[in-house]
């Protein structure tokens, strides 16, 4: 419990590390990196302890009555709704006890409300709860299952209006979701810190780099622990500022500072949506910024549907910019200008998932506002699905390995957004979790590759054949790629499959709606993902080395994080094994642990239905991924064979030259053309046929009728009556315009003079007439 109530220490520690590095870093023997690594190491341990603490807290038997008991760990004053709930429950409780005097006259509500005294617990206390609980959707079924009890602590920040009416608080809201993010952020940060100490060693701003890396972790941790939406905005902006600084780390070069500016400004555009959305929710929730308040009200019909719809659309704009969704995704590939570990930290594992986290945090708003349940299309799902598909297609045309990964990130974020859009909340967070592991591996692997290839990221021109010289990087990259492509039994398979199954009833029951269109788009995205990652591996690790110099494996501070992350990326899928796969049934103690840990059950979360594991869909998507890998492999193998032959010939004659590069680009282009042609061709032809045969027939028929009628009208009415009037009016207007155009001199100051004179005269008329 101590760790849950003192979670604020973790971000505070990182903020302290920022200050220490900034002020004392240059004087330290290792220029400040040791402070950062020590701080993030401690933070990681604290996060793990918090997670353990949450695990026990979450599995404890809850004592008391329904929602009010579940909210017993919410400090008084942090949430109006909870205070209200507790008071109401208390009142009804005593009445209730009076009614049932015969059964058990003990005044339970008074004595054990705040304590965890099990001795007073009664077997029938659950039956009491039903009338006491307010009108929550989960009240009836929530009694048998456990109820999530978030731990909220807060302090007053400012007060608006008359005293006591509206309090701005800040503090920590700890539940499964935020604990999960604590672990993810500190784990990836720890790996990135260790990796960076070798990767950027000797950099001109080494100390500042670590300082801002610390500040970035601090902001992200502050964001995930946010207790009020205002605090969320602060964390959100801090994360944006840190990414601006880190992307522009090498700002002396123009493209880098441009990329930083682009990232910052694009994010500002989306932030407007966040500000408006939060403001709307503030007023809708009766002047409260508390996330708990908003969620309870939104989940239980306390806010009208229309307001929720507007607010959620505003917030989706914020998600578009922060999480790189179409149409505001353009900053993300450019942001690869920053150092590679930063890309791994910011643009794969933590910052860009801030948008996902925000949606997950305020999920009742979206769930109710967009009517996710029982529908077959909504804005959030469309945005996600379009991003997932087109992001994956774009990844084909990139030569820069980091850009491939950037588009891959965009596409995977699209998967998560779609999952949230279709109601597969747990699947989205699970994918966030697994994706953080393997995408960080891929980014750090790309950094290791570029370290070997003289700091170039051009996999087409400067890499190739790396599997022999960089065995550790190669194997971790392979594992992470397989996880990303969703190959059984790596983690990506489980999370991706959960998302796909969450789309609803194509093969089996479960899910919240029937999102078939999104399902198809995501399957296309998954197919492309497997294909472009295979292409990346071919370029980076196979064939002949095309760069210059002798590549060498990176040092242990680079490879050890890679190995740890790749291992985690391979195995974390078992955390959320489904309850049953066909004939096999997993025991309850190992299945759906992640869901149990993370997903809230109770008044502040909507009731969502969980899709069951879907064998046909899983096999289909796995087959899709494998066939994509196979096809790409064959294609490149054949291409590579011819190409290698040509290369060796040319190598004897002219050596490695530009012709080869052009040739390669041609292959690239051909590949893109084939794929996109395959996607676009049939669809375009079908539309064309429909247009020619069906629509044209109707239009032609209508047109013939219209021509006959039109001829008659034209000759009799139009020419004689209408035209006369119109022509007369036109001539008058034209002449009047000719006279008046001299007034329009184009001199603004003349207009200003006229404006002031007219205003003064008009005001004068009022003064004389009224006064």
């Amino acid at each position: 419990m101590w760790f849950l109530t003192h979670a604020w220490i973790i971000p505070a520690l990182m903020a302290l590390s920022f200050l220490l590095i900034l002020f004392f870093g240059k004087k330290m023997p290792k220029k400040g990196s040791e402070i950062g690594i020590a701080a993030i190491g401690i933070a990681f341990i604290l996060a793990l302890l918090t997670a353990g603490s949450w695990y026990t807290h979450n599995n404890e038997e809850v004592e008391g009555h329904g929602d009010a008991a579940a909210m017993a760990d919410v400090q008084e004053g942090c949430s109006n709704e909870v205070d209200h709930l507790a008071a109401e429950d208390h009142g009804e409780e005593t009445e209730d006890a009076g009614d049932h005097e015969g059964e058990e006259p003990t005044d339970v509500g008074d004595s054990d409300e705040g304590t965890d005294d099990h001795a007073l617990g009664q077997s029938d206390s659950g039956e009491y709860a039903a009338p006491a609980a307010t009108s929550t959707a989960v009240a009836s079924e929530g009694e048998e299952e456990h109820v999530t009890r978030p731990v909220v602590r807060c302090a007053a920040w400012a007060e608006i209006g008359t005293p006591g009416s509206s309090l701005i608080t800040w503090g920590t809201m700890v539940d499964g979701q935020s604990v999960l993010m604590l672990v993810v952020v500190t784990l990836i940060s720890l790996m990135v810190f260790i990796y960076s100490s070798e990767y950027v060693s000797g950099d001109r701003r080494y100390t500042h780099y670590f300082a801002f890396l610390s500040l970035f972790s601090a902001s992200m941790l502050f964001f995930v622990l946010a207790q009020s939406t205002i605090q969320m905005i602060v964390g959100w902006e801090l994360v944006g500022v840190c990414s601006f600084v880190l992307i522009g780390h090498w700002w002396e070069e123009k493209p880098n500072s441009n990329a930083a500016l682009k990232a910052f400004l694009t994010n500002r555009v989306g932030d407007i949506g966040l500000l408006i959305g939060v403001a709307i929710l503030y007023f809708a929730a009766g002047r409260s910024f508390s996330i708990l308040d908003l969620n309870i009200l939104a989940a239980n019909g306390g806010i009208s549907h229309g307001i929720l719809l507007v607010a959620s659309v505003c917030l989706i704009f914020a998600v578009m910019s922060k999480s790189g969704q179409f149409i505001l995704h353009t900053w993300l590939p450019d942001a690869m200008a920053g150092p590679t570990p930063v890309s791994a930290l910011i643009h794969a594992a933590t910052m860009v998932v801030a948008g996902i986290y925000m949606v997950a945090r305020l999920y009742p708003v979206f769930f109710e506002g967009l009517s996710i349940s029982g529908s077959s299309v909504n804005f959030l799902a469309i945005v996600g699905a379009v991003t997932a598909m087109f992001g994956a297609l774009l990844a084909f045309v990139q030569k820069d390995i980091k850009k491939v990964l950037a588009y891959s990130t965009i596409s995977q974020l699209g998967f998560m957004v779609t999952a949230l859009g279709v109601g597969a909340w747990t699947a989205a967070l699970f994918h966030l979790f697994t994706h953080a592991m393997f995408k960080a591996t891929l980014f750090l692997g790309a950094g290791s590759l570029s370290n070997a290839a003289h700091h170039s990221f051009d996999m087409v021109n400067d890499m190739g054949g790396m599997r022999k010289v960089l065995p550790r990087t190669f194997w971790t990259f392979i594992v992470a790629t397989a996880a990303l492509a969703g190959i059984f039994p790596l983690s990506g398979f489980w999370s991706k499959d959960e998302i796909l199954a969450g789309h609803g009833s194509l093969f089996s029951a479960g899910g919240n709606g029937t999102y078939h269109v999104m399902l198809v788009m995501l399957l296309i995205g998954a197919f492309c993902t497997a294909a472009y990652m295979t292409r990346t591996i071919w370029y980076a690790f196979y064939g002949e080395f095309r760069g210059h110099g002798t590549p060498h494996e990176s040092g242990s501070r680079i490879t050890v994080p890679l190995i740890i992350l790749a291992t985690l990326g391979a195995v974390v899928g078992v955390l959320n094994l489904p309850e049953e796969i066909g004939p096999f049934t997993f025991p309850e103690s190992i299945s759906l642990q992640f869901e149990h840990f993370v997903e809230p059950v109770g008044a502040y979360f909507p009731t969502i239905s969980h899709a069951e594991f879907n064998i046909p869909l899983a096999i289909f998507s796995l087959a899709l991924a494998l066939s994509a890998v196979l096809l790409t492999y064959l294609y490149y193998w054949k291409g590579a064979f011819k190409f290698l032959h040509g290369l060796s010939e040319r190598n004897r004659v002219a050596g490695l030259g530009k012709t080869i590069l052009v040739n390669k680009y041609y292959f690239d282009w051909l590949y893109t053309d084939v794929i996109t042609g395959f996607v676009k061709g049939p669809a375009a032809r079908a539309t064309n046929w429909f247009n020619q045969h069906v629509l044209d027939g109707i239009v032609d028929g209508t047109a013939k009728g219209a021509v006959v009628a039109g001829q008659f009208v034209y000759e009799n009415i139009d020419q004689k009556v209408v035209d006369g009037a119109v022509n007369g009016a036109a001539i008058t207007t034209s002449e009047a315009g000719g006279v008046l155009r001299h007034l329009q001199t184009g001199r603004i100051q003349q207009y200003a003079a006229l404006f002031f004179a007219a205003a003064a005269l008009l005001a004068g008329v009022f003064v004389v007439a009224i006064g």
Binding site: H742, L743, Q744, T745, G746, R747, I748, Q749, A753, F756
Partner: protein
Amino acid sequence: MLLTQFLLLAAILFSIGVYGVIVRKNGVLVLMSVELMLNAVNINLIAFSTYHGLGGQVFALFVIAVAAAEVGVGLAIVLLIYRNRRSVDIDQLDELKG
């Protein structure tokens, strides 16, 4: 002291500002005249706030903030005009001519 004396001073400053906006050719000078007008308004706000509590002072502060924003953007625009035309002569900007 009378309320009227402050209001009259503000009126004089405002009118001078109006004159400046109409007559000055240089973009920077036009912005200065706008500042005169804004300050005249601020005097009014403060003078009236002696009757109505602190709201007037708060809004005078807001006017100062908005004026700072206005000068920033205004000067940026003037700078852009200068870069494009090598002159900040507002008289020459007559693309609106009919």
